[in-house]
């Protein structure tokens, strides 16, 4: 049985040589060449200080009410990019007293609302207002790949319950701002 197989193989090789000598064209292919670039987003490198918006003292020491001149230096996320269409989403939690968590007495508040904005990525900036129950502008879309800087800022501060209210004393008031860059296809 093994002898028979070897003989057949030899015949096939010999037959091939005969065809070449007769100028017969042989062709293989086409062979598709494929690759893949995954959807990828990176939110860039933070500049403009650390990750904290430090507002300092929040209250007017003579009135006990929220200062009207609160401001914080914006944060810059440099060289952010997305390799495809994307969305940018900003979310925030209000500034609330960390240690003094009891319900504030009449005339007082323990919460400051504000708006957080992410601009530079889309034509319309993404904005989240912690005092609003609905924030449809918090997510903005971009139809093309892009690279650039994202500016994250906070502003439009107001005392929850009304600016007539005083703020309860607490050495630590804290809120969180989150910016998410997401690829979409």
């Amino acid at each position: 049985m093994n002898l028979l197989s070897l003989a057949l193989a030899a015949a096939l090789i010999a037959g091939g040589a005969t065809a070449a000598s007769a100028q017969t064209t042989a062709e293989a292919g086409p062979f598709p060449v494929t690759g893949n670039v995954p959807n990828l987003c990176a939110a860039g490198t933070l500049t403009g200080g650390g990750t904290a918006f430090d507002l300092g003292i929040l209250s007017n020491e003579s009135t006990g009410r929220m200062r009207r001149d609160l401001e914080a230096t914006p944060k810059i996320l440099t060289a952010a990019y997305c390799s495809t269409a994307s969305t940018i989403t900003i979310e925030a939690t209000p500034l609330e007293s960390v240690n003094n968590t009891n319900a504030p007495p009449p005339g007082f508040s323990r919460r400051i609302d504000y708006s957080a904005t992410a601009s530079g990525w889309t034509n319309v900036a993404a904005v989240y207002d912690t005092g609003s129950t609905s924030n449809p502008a918090a997510t903005q879309s971009r139809a093309t790949a892009f690279q650039g800087d994202i500016t994250v800022s906070i502003g439009t501060f107001s005392t929850n319950g009304g600016d007539i209210l005083r703020l309860v004393a607490d050495p630590a008031y804290q809120g969180i701002v989150t910016v998410t860059l997401a690829a979409t296809t």
């Binding site: 060449v33 507002l55 929040l58 007495p105 009449p106 005083r166």
Partner: protein, 197 residues
Amino acid sequence: MRASTILAILLPLVPASAHAQSTTTSDTRTFTVNGSVPGTCAVGPPTLAPGSQNNFRGLNGSTLQIDQLVDTTTLSTKAASIDVRFDSICTFPHRLMIESQNNGLWRTSERSSTPPEGFGYAVPYRALVRWARESLRLNADATIRRIADSSVFVRGSAIGDIELRLEIDSGSTNEAANAPLLAGVYGDTIRITLEPQ
């Protein structure tokens, strides 16, 4: 002779299942927003409670002036009273204190002279304070010229008016009741303090 060459290019092939789904990659940055609210106690300027003046001329800045300290028929003290409010706030647990510098209305001149017997030369009064559901009473009895004070602890934050009522009784002096008063200018200084604890 035409020869075909097979060119092998090795690529990391994406599984078919990956082509079929929509891949999404995201990146998130988180920031904190920080601030602080120090304890604050503040007492605003005095204002008169409407309709509260009895024998007081009113308020001039932070000075209360009695209209007629002496009853012209008895030559002794004429009754007087007034209510004053102070818009105030304290964002800490605190102590409310009222202090009389002289423990009564004393003559501000001729202090070295010996008063003649039978005459009064100081006038006692009461100070009643209400603040944040607490009340305070100071009897400036004019027995001795000294600092007199009274205080109360207030739990928690408070906001609103400190209500101060001053009362001078008819005929009250540091000597016998209804004793005539020596001529002169009488006065005292009252301090109200909210002190964080």
